[in-house]
Point group: C2
Chain length 290, copies 2
């Protein structure tokens, strides 16, 4: 199933990688692109990620069969207002935001309802590196893409979007938007916040620059990899999904407080039990992590 | 400089990898080994990691020029008592424990002082996989090994140990034991505790097995990799280095409480500042992380 004209609004790691992947798969014709950051857009054009660099989001989406919106989640509403004038009745519009309820709310804000041809999506893929310069066609291969269909969803439009994601090598699953937000608060949003907070805390220690960070090893590197992620993107995500993240953060603080008490009173068996449970659970699920 | 006879007491990931590395480098003759776990020892013998499987720690170290003690840190004192009868006056004894003050205390407990030919060491290398089956000769290549010399240190003995580590491809540096423990509480011990606590917290969520872990992605996998580490080993480390770890844990809890407040009062600029600082600090130091 060919998509003659694709428009990508937001040419970062995800938008750029999607464009590269569907082009490589041969399932799209022309790719038009727009990014508010001229440097990103020119880089995308120079690298052949897009065929046409538009002067506005509305221009980019004109005549497009499918529009992929790939901006930080809090930029969704503004981007939708900007591209709206270029949409035709048949255009399929989809997004890649990490928080789905906030995106659906932005869509309702702009369109007055959830249009049948709006498909909410979220690829469970990414790296800590941002920007179109880091985009690559294989980013989604073997990973899941979650679609969170709404009540008025057009099934054919959903199939088109699912087909494009399948062409990138991803596996498409569907999920309720609220459930999605609760689950990813736990598996993705909170760990990002914890990693940022950990590195920030370390940076305030005496001797941080001279002695602490220079003695970090492989465990530290992996544990903090996600703390190199885009601060803007993750600020948006925490803000857009604040309630579930905040609730989980309170649970994490309570658990850490409990562990602090366990250490201070020397209850080493309780400490060992937590470590053993964590290892067993992770090992049990590891084969299922993409 | 050849070490005719090496003894390795504790045939896990570190002891096994050290034996493989120095053998590959051609800097040792015979390698005798002992592990209280007969399965580990037979595996080490079958894989050619050691040449001789001894019946006791004392037997393993008999006639050895260098003894590498590679047991969980809280097993140090018992292991030293067990191997002590086999030591000769010229034997060089070294260890690989992640906490140096506790190891030095155990040595004093057993020998009544810090023997000149005892060299405290800590290779900054490892994986989340434990056991001799996961040992490999390249584990230490390009990583640091920290020696924490004491006042009565025999310089020649230190050179022999440093030479063996250099032969594994590691870079040897020296550091004060107390400073070592404070630094690694921050860069290694606390992150392990945080990773264990995070996975443990998630495992208690409703729907953890059915929905939460199956939706984990690459960020989760790296953030929690160290939560697959040996619970026994890390229980020992937290217990052996409890004071600095506890102090840092309290700082981390305070910072997370502050972030929780920041989110609840919607101070998004403060959140962004923490994220930006963390990313900048990590990126600045990344090239120096082994």
């Amino acid at each position: 199933m060919l998509t003659p004209r694709l428009a990508v609004v937001g040419l970062g790691l995800i938008g750029g990688s999607f464009a590269k992947a569907v082009r490589k798969a041969g399932v799209v014709g022309t790719i038009a692109g727009f990014d508010a950051d001229a440097v990103q857009m020119q880089r995308a054009l120079a690298d052949g990620v897009i065929d046409v660099a538009a002067n506005s989001a509305a221009e980019a989406v004109q005549g497009a069969d499918v529009v992929l919106l790939a901006v930080p989640v809090l930029a969704t509403e503004t981007a939708l207002r900007e591209l709206q004038p270029g949409l035709s009745a048949n255009t399929i519009l989809t997004d890649v935001g990490s928080t789905k309820q906030s995106v659906l709310a932005a869509v309702v804000e702009v369109f007055g309802r959830l249009p049948p041809r709006f498909i909410a999506g979220h690829p469970i893929a990414g790296t800590e590196k941002s920007g179109v310069a880091n985009a690559f066609a294989e980013l989604f291969r073997g990973h899941r893409v979650i679609l969170t269909p709404h009540a008025d969803q057009d099934a054919a439009a959903q199939s088109v979007v699912a087909g494009l994601w399948t062409a990138t090598g991803a596996r498409v699953v569907t999920m309720d938007a609220a459930r999605h937000d609760a689950i990813f608060a736990a598996t993705s949003h909170l760990p990002h916040l914890l990693a940022f907070a950990f590195v920030d805390m370390l940076s305030r220690l005496e001797g941080a620059d001279a002695e602490v960070f220079p003695n970090a090893g492989g465990g530290f590197r992996d544990f903090t990899r996600i703390a190199s992620s885009s601060p803007r993107m993750w600020h948006d995500i925490v803000r857009a999904n604040a309630a579930p993240i905040s609730a989980l953060l309170r649970r994490q603080i309570a658990e850490l407080q409990e562990l602090s008490d366990v250490i201070d009173r020397g209850d080493w068996q309780a400490l060992a039990t937590v470590f053993e449970n964590a290892r067993a659970v992770r090992e049990r699920h590891l084969s299922r992590i993409d």
